[in-house]
Symmetry: D2
Subunit: 147 residues, 4 copies
């Protein structure tokens, strides 16, 4: 497996995930090359990210006073092709929690337990009205690191 | 060409269009069957519909007091496959203007002037707050029938 | 509920469905109006259609000698808005089976059992190489009418 | 502007682009937050990448004997929100050409000349049948570095 800047040790890294959602690859997500279009990886990451935040009660009207999450960057490494009708699991974990942001890591595993996608991306919490970053409170930080 | 309920005479029907937008088929809009996924037709219709309404000044903050357009139904007949990199023109016209709604017709033409898609769909104007249909004023009706 | 050409009696029509798939509305399927983009309805129909055909063993390499299914037309009536995170069930049934084609009907039901979408569309079976319609054999017809 | 690992000097980096394609933001690419969904950035990059390769005659049936391009990784930094109807220009350049791969950089500029997106991703050329990386010939390398 190729070397990836955000993964120090693949075995350890993989074991640190616990939260995941199932995704079934849709027909409209394939392209004329016969497999899943590259763009769809980021849709899967988005679904997994939102479910992860919801599971921690960090994606709701109530928590908006603590700032809304905005995607600052996203990246994906493609390891194995995925095909129509594949069932994958998309994992998410908080890799690092900063003052106003969190670095989330992603991994997609197929039915034979092989890694199809790995990725990461930073979420910044910003004030809905001013657009400025807001500090994460300690409860939120604790939730994210446990997640 | 097959018979289609909303087209009485294909030659006449085709000539009645004047407004169109160009669309270049994107790679991500193809699917594993090698041509454009069926779903994309409705994205093209949507882009054409909005540009048509904008050209008549019927899609803007200012005109919202006259109601916002809501799609009541949509349909599409598939005549010819479209492929990655094809350049098509998507035409729109108002077929019939009612008290609170307008029936729009659609046609997509490829580079060799063949019809790839035909379609139609009704837009209802509704009050943004109550969700109830609002009557189109005479200016709007006139604009739509000219469009 | 509005009158729809392909539905004679809504109560009867609704009862005739048995096959369905669950769909969870994705964040990326919403648009700036705050609810599901109209185009996504056809993605849901496509997923339901393919699963329906697969459940009858009519969507596989083995059955391709009997022709491949091609979408001839599609239509959708929008009854209720759907929102991010909604869980809907999308139903499919064969309404009418012809010599070389089948008319499929669709219905999407939300969590409070209300109809969000209804629709229909004709599938034609064509020879993969010639593109010409091929007659459905009696086994296939029987499967479709039971489905 | 935030610091980005793949950009040493933003002013120099920006000046090195010359190839670009225009993109008009579609309504269906917005989400319920009112602006462009994050995923769409990668659709724009894909369109720009393919047009860039086509402009160098590196995306065609004829050049497939030299290997087909496969996306190894992709990343995007989000600088400014984009909205429905925005017209942006998406730039591409080859940043580094290796033995079997090329590192492409991306930049999206809005109508007031502000950077909305920056990104990068590596394309590997692989043999269509074996899936193994194939060396880029000198002509291709020269074309990519000029592009």
């Amino acid at each position: 497996m190729k070397s990836i800047a955000y993964i120090e040790n693949m075995a350890t890294w993989r074991e640190e995930f616990s939260f995941s959602i199932p995704i079934k690859i849709r027909f409209s997500e394939t392209d004329m090359f016969g497999h899943v279009n590259n763009v769809s990886a980021f849709t899967y990451f988005e679904e997994a990210r939102i479910e992860f935040l919801k599971s921690l009660n960090l994606f709701s009207k109530e928590t908006e006073q603590n700032g809304v999450p905005v995607v600052a960057d996203l990246q994906c490494d493609y390891h194995k092709q995925m095909y129509f009708d594949d069932r994958i699991n998309v994992y998410v974990k908080a890799h690092q929690v900063g003052t106003t942001s969190v670095d989330l890591h992603y991994m997609a595993i197929n039915a034979v337990d092989a890694i199809c996608l790995t990725g990461r991306g930073r979420l910044v919490y910003v004030n809905r009205h001013t657009g400025k970053p807001v500090p994460l409170n300690d409860d939120v930080k604790r939730l994210l690191m446990k997640g």
